[in-house]
């Protein structure tokens, strides 16, 4: 029996979520292609340089807000129902959060895309960070708020399912995948409060003209209170896949369930009190608070380092089960011809590279050199743009057949897609990193200035531009292959042939009984997490609001 037969309600929701997320991925990726060609001056025929920022806002919002949130909502619905062995508690509630998120997406997308049509007096060219006092149309902020509130309700349904399971299984350990979902969602609740306050208390009233000014530093700080944990909201689902599905795809089992739990608890504790590392170069924030954020950030490396170990160890175990031998020879015994495996594994590999450039970003004083340069998008296309996005695509090859009951179509295309992504990203990202070291700014339609001469530290400017353009094009082609496979599978007839995937996930080599029970007591971890946040954010927030919530205040600059 496939997942779709056992969990019919959940399957509907997961399909709907994945559907929206794939559309967002396709459109967002097309905008990415435009950017890669426009910035590098290879082709500037799609949009004017003034409209470049409309494209860039669309790219950021569609990919990191819409694609991610919908995909995660679907993945978590699968992960909780499948590991608790209970279908969603209420389909009505399910459609409620889905509809909220969809309406939110439609509102935000309308505001952004209207920016292309001069005759419509509506725009939201504020990029996905929407720093005040640049001001978007109110429906942009309202849409963003709806997406977040919808995700809160989705989270509530995961908990509701867990509570129901608890009643029927008193004293049992929370299944690993549900544990991961729960810790991720708790972190999400704690962190989205920041952006919710920013948007609901400040930006929506301000864009409606109810208040005349906002303090740009306070709204920015609230954004970044949310802005770092959000990257873990993207990564933790990828980790969920790497911990629980990747070992199985490799032919083995997860190495250690207890360590996986510890890693997720560490993320819950440490993801939020680090946001000032995005504000290292902000005036108005005392150096001491930046230093605290820096140390917390460095410790946040620990759970990722542990993950690297466990994931590689689990893959090695799987490879040896397949008959692999030798110190590195086992690598050859992994199923590199299974796109669900190869995509997740390549995503993990790129994430390691992204981790290294992230360590540079986190180094407070080195940050001067790369802040707001092209280095930064070079970095996060490895993390959210590959670790998350490529894992999402890869796992779709495994999951979409299960939620539709249809065989994966166009397997040949699926086979090359992850490799093409990996290759395209290698070109684009390495060149972005190096261009950033030469000082080329990000978020810029035409990074060619009469008065400025960028000189590459490694390599020449022309070579970097070409690599970005070619890399971006290959990425877009890879994206198209993915979408063709998905569309083909979706529209295929059901029942033609046996499902080739098997959705059973084997238990870990070292099971949950080897970890202390306190690990499952998430109330304790939430209390500690909030304590750490009060230490990191209490005093600076107090300083910022001491001179007035709206002071020093800026009027609006519509964009």
């Amino acid at each position: 029996m496939a997942y779709v037969d056992d969990y019919p309600d959940a399957s509907k929701l997961v399909r709907a979520c994945f559907g929206v997320s794939f559309v967002a991925l396709g459109l967002g990726g097309f905008f990415g292609l435009i950017q890669a060609l426009h910035r590098t001056n290879v082709f500037r025929g799609f949009v004017s340089s003034a409209d470049y920022y409309t494209v860039l806002t669309g790219h950021g919002v569609l990919l990191v807000l819409v694609f991610t949130t919908f995909f995660i909502a679907g993945l978590f619905t699968w992960a909780t129902t499948h590991s608790l062995e209970r279908d969603v508690p209420s389909l009505t509630l399910g459609w409620t959060w889905f509809a909220m998120m969809l309406v939110g997406t439609a509102l935000a997308a309308t505001a952004i895309l209207a920016g292309f049509v001069p005759s419509i007096d509506m725009s939201a060219d504020v990029l996905f960070t929407f720093y005040a006092p640049l001001q978007a149309h109110p429906i942009f902020y309202i849409g963003a708020a709806l997406i977040i509130v919808g995700s809160w309700i989705a989270g509530y349904t995961y908990f509701k399912n867990l509570w129901g399971w608890r009643q029927d299984n008193p004293g049992e350990r929370i299944p690993l995948r549900t544990f991961m979902v729960v810790t991720t969602m708790l972190m999400w609740y704690i962190s989205t409060i920041g952006v919710a306050i920013e948007v609901v208390v400040f930006l929506i009233p301000w864009s409606l003209g109810l208040i005349s000014q906002v303090d740009p530093l306070i709204t920015r700080t609230l954004f970044w209170y949310f802005g770092h944990p959000v990257v873990y909201f993207w990564l933790m689902p990828a980790y969920l896949v790497w911990y629980t599905v990747l070992p199985k795809l490799s032919g083995g089992r997860l190495f250690s369930d207890p360590l996986a739990r510890v890693v997720f608890v560490l993320f819950l504790l440490l993801s939020t009190p680090v946001g000032f590392h995005h504000q290292y170069l902000d005036p108005g924030i005392p150096e001491g608070f930046k230093f605290i954020a820096m140390t917390n950030t460095m410790f946040l490396l620990l759970p990722s380092l542990l993950t690297a170990f466990t994931v590689v160890a689990s893959m090695e175990h799987g490879a040896r089960q397949n008959g692999g031998t030798g110190r590195f020879g086992w690598l050859g015994s992994l199923p590199w011809d299974n796109p669900a495996f190869s995509g997740s594994a390549l995503a993990g590999l790129m994430f390691a590279a992204g981790g290294f450039s992230g360590m540079i970003n986190a180094g407070m004083n080195i940050n001067y050199l790369i802040h707001n340069t092209l280095w930064v998008p070079g970095h996060f296309h490895l993390t959210v743009g590959t670790a998350f996005a490529l894992t999402a695509m890869a796992i779709s090859y495994w999951l979409v057949p299960q939620i539709t009951g249809k065989r994966l179509q166009f397997r040949g295309l699926a086979l090359v897609q992850p490799y093409l992504w990996f290759f395209g990203m290698t070109l684009m990202s390495n060149a972005m990193h190096r261009a950033g070291l030469a000082g080329v700014p990000r978020r810029t339609a035409e990074p060619q200035y009469g008065s400025v001469d960028f000189s590459g530290v490694v390599g020449g400017m022309t070579e970097m531009r070409i690599q970005i353009a070619i890399g971006g094009t290959l990425l877009f082609v890879s994206l198209l292959l993915f979408l063709v496979v998905m569309a083909g599978t979706w529209m295929a007839e059901r029942g033609r042939g046996q499902l080739t995937v098997n959705g059973v996930i084997p238990p870990a080599l070292s099971g949950p009984e080897h970890s202390p029970r306190i690990i499952d007591n998430y109330r304790v971890w939430v209390a500690i997490a909030i304590g750490l946040i009060i230490i990191a954010y209490g005093p600076p927030m107090f300083d910022l609001v001491a001179d007035g919530l709206l002071e020093p205040g800026s009027p609006a600059f519509p964009a």
């Binding site: 003034a50 470049y52 920022y53 060219d125 720093y131 006092p133 640049l134 740009p216 530093l217 190495f255 207890p258 360590l259 504000q279 290292y280 170069l281 902000d282 005036p283 108005g284 924030i285 005392p286 150096e287 230093f291 820096m294 460095m298 490396l301 620990l302 380092l305 542990l306 170990f309 466990t310 160890a313 360590m359 180094g363 407070m364 004083n365 080195i366 050199l369 802040h371 707001n372 030469a438 000082g439 700014p441 978020r443 810029t444 339609a445 035409e446 990074p447 200035y449 008065s451 400025v452 001469d453 960028f454 080897h514 300083d543 001179d547 020093p552 205040g553 800026s554 600059f557 964009a559």
Partner: protein
């Protein structure tokens, strides 16, 4: 809870790496004196920048032997001074930059150096920079500030000490 021996080694190496990073950054801050942009530039009413005593006529001013102060206003889509007239400072000098915005968020980056700050309305960014040799530097706004953002750039001319006749 049982932890594999290799995993313990890896964990120890990871913690060592983290402590090493923190030590390096701390050395950079304390030993090498790389100060972060701070709150000591103070605040300002962003709607009244042109009436402010320091920013109404922004530019470079000598405040001591080899010591200068440069007040700069960032606005859509130019630096004042910097864009239509270069910022001019002598070689072998220490310049304290004070940068603020009269409209939206901007960036101020002397290309290829670690002189880089956000420019946030309501806040004054303060940075001390040493200029040793005569040469010209480009400045770019590296934070999106509106439809003309990609045109926002400027120059700093570091002139030989003897030729210096005051800033822009």
């Amino acid at each position: 809870m049982e932890i594999h021996r290799f995993e313990k080694l890896w964990l120890a190496a990871g913690i060592l790496l983290i402590v090493g990073f923190i030590a390096t950054v701390t050395y950079g801050a304390v030993g090498e004196g790389v100060a972060m942009v701070n709150d000591d530039g103070g605040t300002i009413d962003p709607t009244k920048v042109s009436e402010d005593a320091n920013f109404s006529d922004p530019g470079v001013e000598q405040v001591g032997p080899h010591e200068y102060e440069a007040h700069i206003v960032a606005q859509q889509f130019l630096f004042k001074p910097g864009t239509s007239t270069p910022i001019r400072v002598p070689a072998n000098s220490t310049v304290t930059f004070y940068v603020t915005s009269s409209d939206v968020v901007h960036g101020f980056n002397i290309v290829g150096t670690n002189v880089n700050t956000m420019v946030i309305p309501g806040q004054v960014a303060k940075m001390k920079v040493r200029f040793e040799e005569p040469r010209e530097y480009g400045i770019v706004c590296n934070e999106y500030c509106g439809a003309g953002h990609h045109t926002m750039a400027g120059t700093i001319e570091v002139v030989p000490e003897d030729d210096y006749e005051g800033g822009a």
